[in-house]
């Protein structure tokens, strides 16, 4: 009975604190509690009773909550509808069940990237293309099948490319509402990029906060055992494989424990460093050579195109040479890099993966970079009729050929490799799904799409279809041809790195390319929504000037002149952001020191506990010896004659009890030290003390 009282009081306190929270916080707090569902339901009912009691006292305030409640219910119903769709839930579940979380992360990433493309396609189609259909000019060119591959020919005069869009203000009805195509184009693209920026920023922040590893030099072994068993894997064969992999890793770890640290001689270390340097020089040289090749090939391409619009089949197929060469480079050079990685002996396989991924990134960034340089500096200033459409076509071809090479890569890399691995050369075995290379391919494709949005508004739609096909092809190829990964792939860390890569070189690069195009480059004179203007951004300038005439919109003009177009404002904002960043960084440093101090404190408390336990044991042993020296009869007499002298001893167990009563949810069934006491032979008073 007396034990129930502190429990009841604790529960009343809990109910009281929960009742005073807002409903969101309360829901989260109840979710976090490690109690059974029935208990949580009881607590929630008690809390709701408390709240109605309180609100009855307050009276009218209860009804004010009602609109908020109904709004939340509507939002919930909408979310539930979308959740019911749950596309690909079953596919993802099967993939996770057989191959584990690491391979699953590729498919989840692909699904996430698809959302960007769907969103872009919808808003571009809605705001730019549909109005354009109303003011469309007839298309005089003929359609041959080759257009699907080259994007030129018939497609030049369609909504696919920038050049087709009109610069007029479209209005169906005379003196009716008009639709300014220039503003629509620039604002749609601009707002899309702003929204993407925010989504990427928040995703990155969320991933950093949940996946950030505090210290690297800590228990790899312990967490491997207890925290990385993949509960997702539900296939019997896959479970056996996972157990086998874990067994192999544990055995390797144990043999490393027994091995002594080998000190390399100076000569060996020198050879090591020289090999690493050489490998890096070769990789960078390959990347530079690839860039030079792409550059000269594209200049050649431009000369071909400058010979005017023509439907000559030969000339059009010649335009495909550049994208094919680029895709070949992107596919074959990574094999060179991984071969180089095998030559250099890395200390851990993790380093090998990391270095190979970095080299691939450098290659892809340099190729995309040189292409952007070529487009912005050479194509834009060339004397072609419509350079934006040219750039759009180039990007269309690159995207398409990259998609085809992705499918081919799946075919050769996985299907043929499996055939070879099972029939011709059985020692190779089944291929593994190369997560790093595939994710980098996805990021590359998405970068190209983002660059192309300005020049070809419907490109995200094409990429959307491509991603859908890639998902199914990769899934089928995975199920039929691949085996689950053998090595540890730090999923959370790698996913965070990939999202960071998507943001930092990829999206920011796209923003700078688009920024340079909009601000600095002169749009072509004869086509597109910005024809005749000195730059694409001039459309916004003109619009602001027209707004100045109306007094209603003076505030928009003020915001534009003083906030958006003023350098002082950005300078002030940058300074403020830098100061805030610096403050947060200092707080982080302080917290790290705090963590170290607390860690030391815990260790010290543990040592105190051990010391006190030993002291207690010594005391009790000493007392036992002195009591057995007093009366030699039996236990009972010794215990009965013991009672008077127990008084001081009773204090001692109380002290450790108070000191060690940690604030755990778990109840201590036995005191930690009573085990030691009862283990020392026939000392029954230990139990009487409790």
């Amino acid at each position: 009975m007396p034990e129930a009282d502190p429990v009841c009081r604790e529960e009343e306190d809990l109910v009281g604190s929960l009742a005073s929270m807002s409903s969101n916080e309360r829901i989260k707090a109840i979710q976090k509690m490690p109690k059974t569902m029935r208990k949580k339901r009881e607590i929630r009912n008690k809390v709701l009773k408390e709240r109605t009691k309180k609100s009855r006292h307050r009276g009218a305030q209860w009804t004010q909550g009602a609109p908020g409640v109904s709004f939340r219910r509507f939002g919930n119903a909408l979310s539930e509808f979308f959740q019911q769709l749950r596309p690909w839930h079953k596919s993802l579940k099967i993939i996770g069940a057989e191959f584990g979380t690491s391979v699953l992360s590729y498919f989840v990433f692909l699904k996430w990237l698809l959302n960007f493309n769907i969103f872009s396609f919808l808003i571009n189609f809605g705001f730019i293309t549909i109005p354009q259909f109303l003011a469309a000019e007839p298309n005089n060119l003929s359609f041959t099948g080759l257009e699907l591959l080259t994007g030129a020919g018939y497609f030049q005069q369609t909504v696919l490319y920038y050049g087709f869009y009109t610069n007029a203000t479209i209005s169906k009805v005379e003196n009716g509402p008009s639709y300014n195509m220039q503003l629509a184009y620039i604002f749609t693209v601009g707002i899309y990029f702003v929204i993407c920026f925010l989504i990427l920023l928040f995703s990155m922040a969320r991933f950093f906060s949940s996946n950030f590893r505090l210290t690297k030099a800590f228990s790899v072994n312990a967490s491997k055992l207890l925290c990385t068993w993949d509960f997702n894997i539900t296939n019997e064969e896959a479970v056996k494989l996972q157990q086998k992999n874990l067994l192999t890793q544990i055995k390797e770890d144990l043999t490393e424990v027994n091995k002594e640290v080998v000190n390399f001689s100076v000569m060996e270390r020198f050879v090591h460093i020289a090999t690493h340097l050489l490998a890096w020089v070769v990789s960078l040289a390959t990347a530079v050579a690839a860039c030079a090749g792409v550059y000269f090939l594209s200049i050649n391409n431009l000369k071909l195109f400058m010979k005017g619009y023509s439907n000559d089949l030969q000339r059009q197929s010649a335009m495909l040479v550049l994208p094919v060469i680029v895709s070949l480079l992107n596919t074959l050079v990574p094999f060179l890099f991984s071969w180089l990685g095998h030559l250099e002996k890395f200390q851990t396989p993790g380093q090998h993966i990391y270095v190979t991924i970095v080299r691939n990134i450098i290659l892809k960034i340099s190729i995309v970079g040189i292409l952007c340089y070529y487009w912005l500096n050479i194509v834009a200033t060339s004397e072609s009729q419509c350079w934006e459409t040219l750039v759009g076509q180039d990007i269309y071809r690159l995207v398409l050929v990259d998609f085809i090479f992705c499918l081919l890569g799946s075919f050769f890399g996985e299907f043929l490799r499996r055939i070879i691995g099972t029939t011709v050369c059985v020692s190779l075995g089944l291929p593994e799904f190369d997560i790093g290379r595939n994710v980098l391919d996805l990021i590359y494709a998405q970068t190209l799409t983002w660059i192309g949005i300005l020049f070809s508004p419907l490109l995200p739609g094409i990429q959307m279809i491509a991603f859908l096909i890639v998902f199914f092809v990769k899934k089928v190829s995975l199920m039929r041809n691949c085996q689950p990964p053998r090595e540890v792939w730090r999923t959370a860390q790698m996913t965070t790195s990939f999202i960071f890569l998507l943001f930092c070189p990829s999206f920011l690069g796209v923003l700078s390319v688009t920024g340079v195009t909009v601000w600095r480059l002169k749009p072509s004179e004869e086509c597109g929504p910005f024809r005749g203007l000195p730059s694409m951004y001039a459309a916004v300038d003109e619009w602001i000037q027209t707004l100045e005439r109306y007094t209603v919109s003076k505030w928009v003009v003020w915001i534009y002149h003083n906030l958006i177009a003023s350098e002082l404002f950005f300078f002030i904002i940058s300074t403020v952001v830098l100061i805030v960043t610096y403050l947060y960084w200092q707080i982080i440093q302080a917290r790290k020191t705090m963590i170290k101090l607390l860690h030391n404190q815990i260790i010290n408390a543990g040592q105190d506990k051990k010391f006190l336990l030993q002291k207690l044991q010594r005391e009790q042993r000493a007392k036992r010896r002195s009591s057995s020296a007093l009366g030699g009869r039996g236990q009972q007499r010794s215990s009965s004659s013991y009672h008077p002298s127990m008084q001081p001893a009773q204090e001692v167990p109380g002290y450790p009890e108070r000191a060690f009563d940690r604030n755990q949810n778990t109840s201590h069934n036995e005191h930690p030290f009573s085990v030691e006491i009862s283990s020392s032979s026939d000392f029954s008073p230990g139990k009487q003390l409790r």
């Binding site: 979710q31 509690m33 490690p34 059974t36 569902m37 119903a77 979310s79 539930e80 959740q83 019911q84 996770g96 069940a97 979380t101 990433f109 995703s203 949940s210 996946n211 950030f212 590893r213 505090l214 800590f218 228990s219 072994n221 312990a222 967490s223 055992l225 207890l226 925290c227 990385t228 068993w229 993949d230 509960f231 997702n232 539900t234 296939n235 019997e236 479970v239 157990q243 086998k244 874990l246 544990i250 055995k251 770890d253 144990l254 424990v257 999923t491 959370a492 860390q493 996913t495 999202i499 860690h599 815990i602 260790i603 408390a605 543990g606 940690r662 755990q664 949810n665 109840s667 930690p672």
Partner: protein, 175 residues
């Protein structure tokens, strides 16, 4: 991207799906109408025959931890509890708490060396020699035991979880 924590409607749809899965295990025992709170308990054998659990080496411990009396037989509430903790929406601390209980085979609120030995054997299909198992357990305790009492308490375990960011995605069963 993956972890959406806020959704009440996702919970509702998950609950509905789970109820139908529970019912599918024994349609003759589980009524469709739960409004009069019938006391239906499904035996452990049925629970462990679910495709998501049947090959999991820890299925018995999972069922024991979440069942009402610790014997593996689960009511609908226990079933919902189990899959809600194992879903992607449960917070990290909740998952850590239950993972700790799962690995604590003797239910003494500490993961001692014998618990670790049983865990290692389950993880490797009993293919390590006892000396190797003992070596591994000692290494784990040496690395993870912060307060030096020779066994892992809940605080030690949570401390270890912080350094394993993969835990959230691996301690997850998709329904």
């Amino acid at each position: 991207m993956g972890n959406n924590k806020l959704n009440e409607p996702t919970r509702l749809s998950l609950c509905l799906r789970l109820f139908h899965r529970y019912r599918d295990l024994a349609p003759q025992l589980v009524p469709l109408d739960y409004s009069d709170k019938p006391a239906v308990t499904l035996p452990y054998e049925l629970i462990s025959s679910m495709p998501e659990l049947k090959d999991n080496p820890f299925r018995q411990r999972i069922a024991e931890v979440f069942s009402e009396h610790g014997d593996g037989n689960m009511t609908l509430d226990d079933f919902l509890d189990m899959f809600s903790v194992l879903s992607e929406m449960a917070p990290r601390d909740l998952k850590a708490y239950y993972a700790f209980k799962i690995y604590d085979f003797n239910n003494d609120d500490y993961i001692c060396k014998s618990d670790l030995a049983k865990t290692v054997n389950k993880l490797t299909r009993n293919e390590l020699t006892p000396e190797e198992v003992s070596l591994v357990c000692e290494k784990v305790i040496y690395e993870a035991d912060v307060d030096n009492d020779g066994k892992l308490s809940l605080a030690d375990f949570q401390h270890m979880i912080v350094r394993a960011p993969d835990f959230l995605s691996t301690f997850h069963i998709r329904i």
